[in-house]
C-alpha cells in the first residue's frame, strides 16, 4: 500500500519524541520500507536507495526530539527521504536502471521485467520529477503537501506532475507488453 495515515501512529511518534527507545525502534520499523521505496523510485538503485533510507532514518532518530508535533511528522519524514535521495543523485547519478534480479518481491503479480520497464520510463524523467511522481502516485500526497516537502511553489509541482504524467503515459504506452498494458491501462 502506498498511502499511510500517520494518525494511526500518533502515539508511537509522540513516545519517540519523548525519547522512548522502544517507540523509536517501532517507528523506524514502520517507516523503513516506505523510506526505501521512495528513495528507490528516485535513485533506481537498491544500494543507493538503502543508503538514502538509512540516512533519512538516522536523521529521524537524531532529531525527532525537536519535532514540534506528531502531526508534522509525515511531511518532515518525506522531506528527509527525498532530500537525501536527491543529494545522492546529484553526487552520483545512476547510469543504468536497476538490475531486475537485485530486487526481491513476494508479489506474484509483478515480474522483474515489468518493474525494469517502469523504472526505465522513470529514468527518463529528471530526479525532481521522479520525486514528485513517487510522492503523488505512491505516497498519495497532494500537490500542496508535495510543495511543502520539496520547498517549491504548488504551481511548479502541478506543472512537474503534468509533464511527468504525459511523459510516462507515452513511454509506458509505447513499450509495455500487451498483457501488462491490459493490466495497467483502463479499458475504456
Amino acid at each position: 500500500m502506498g498511502g499511510m495515515t500517520w494518525e494511526a501512529h500518533e502515539r508511537t511518534i509522540d513516545a519517540a519524541r519523548a525519547g522512548e527507545g522502544a517507540a523509536l525502534e517501532a517507528l523506524i520499523s514502520v517507516i523503513w520500507q516506505r523510506a526505501y521505496r521512495i528513495a528507490l523510485s528516485i535513485l533506481r538503485h537498491p544500494m543507493a536507495a538503502e543508503d538514502a533510507a538509512q540516512e533519512a532514518c538516522a536523521r529521524v532518530v537524531a532529531a525527532i526530539g525537536g519535532l514540534r508535533s506528531s502531526a508534522a511528522f509525515g511531511v518532515w519524514f518525506y522531506r528527509l527521504v527525498v532530500r537525501e535521495a536527491l543529494r545522492i543523485e546529484r553526487r552520483a547519478p545512476a547510469q543504468e536502471p536497476l538490475d531486475p534480479d537485485a530486487l526481491a518481491s513476494a508479489s506474484p503479480l509483478t515480474d522483474a521485467l515489468v518493474r525494469l520497464d517502469i523504472f526505465r520510463a522513470l529514468g527518463v524523467l529528471p530526479a525532481r520529477q521522479r520525486a514528485v511522481v513517487a510522492l503523488h502516485y505512491y505516497a498519495d500526497l497532494n500537490s500542496r503537501e508535495i510543495a511543502e516537502i520539496l520547498g517549491m511553489p504548488e504551481g511548479t509541482v502541478r506543472y512537474d506532475l503534468s509533464l511527468a504524467r504525459r511523459r510516462l503515459e507515452s513511454l509506458l504506452a509505447a513499450h509495455r507488453p500487451r498483457a501488462l498494458r491490459e493490466e495497467l491501462f483502463d479499458a475504456g
Binding site: G2, S105, I118, L184, D186
Partner: protein, 83 residues
C-alpha cells in the same frame, strides 16, 4: 489511452526492502549528533576568538596618548538650537 500511473508505481515499488538494521541507523544518528556537536563547538571557539581579538584591539586603542593640549582643552559648548 489513459494509464493507471498509480497502479504502475505500486507495481514498480512492490519490492521488499532490505533487512532493517536499527543498530546501524543508531550509529549513523550518533555520528550525526557528534558531528553537529563538533561543528557547534568550532563555532563557539571562533566566536570566543573573535571576542578576544576585539578586546585586544580595544585595549590597544585605550593606551593611545593624546597631545596634552588636546587632552586638557575644554569640551566645546553645544551649539544653540535653531528656533
Amino acid at each position: 489511452m489513459p494509464v493507471d500511473l498509480r497502479g504502475a508505481m505500486r507495481t514498480a515499488l512492490d519490492v521488499d526492502a532490505p533487512q532493517l538494521q536499527f543498530e546501524r541507523i543508531c550509529e549513523r544518528a550518533a555520528w550525526r549528533l557528534r558531528s553537529l556537536e563538533r561543528r557547534r563547538s568550532r563555532r563557539m571557539v571562533s566566536a570566543a576568538a573573535l571576542v578576544a581579538l576585539l578586546a585586544v584591539f580595544a585595549g590597544g586603542h585605550r593606551s593611545v596618548t593624546y597631545d596634552p593640549t588636546v587632552a586638557v582643552a575644554p569640551a566645546p559648548a553645544p551649539s544653540p538650537l535653531a528656533t
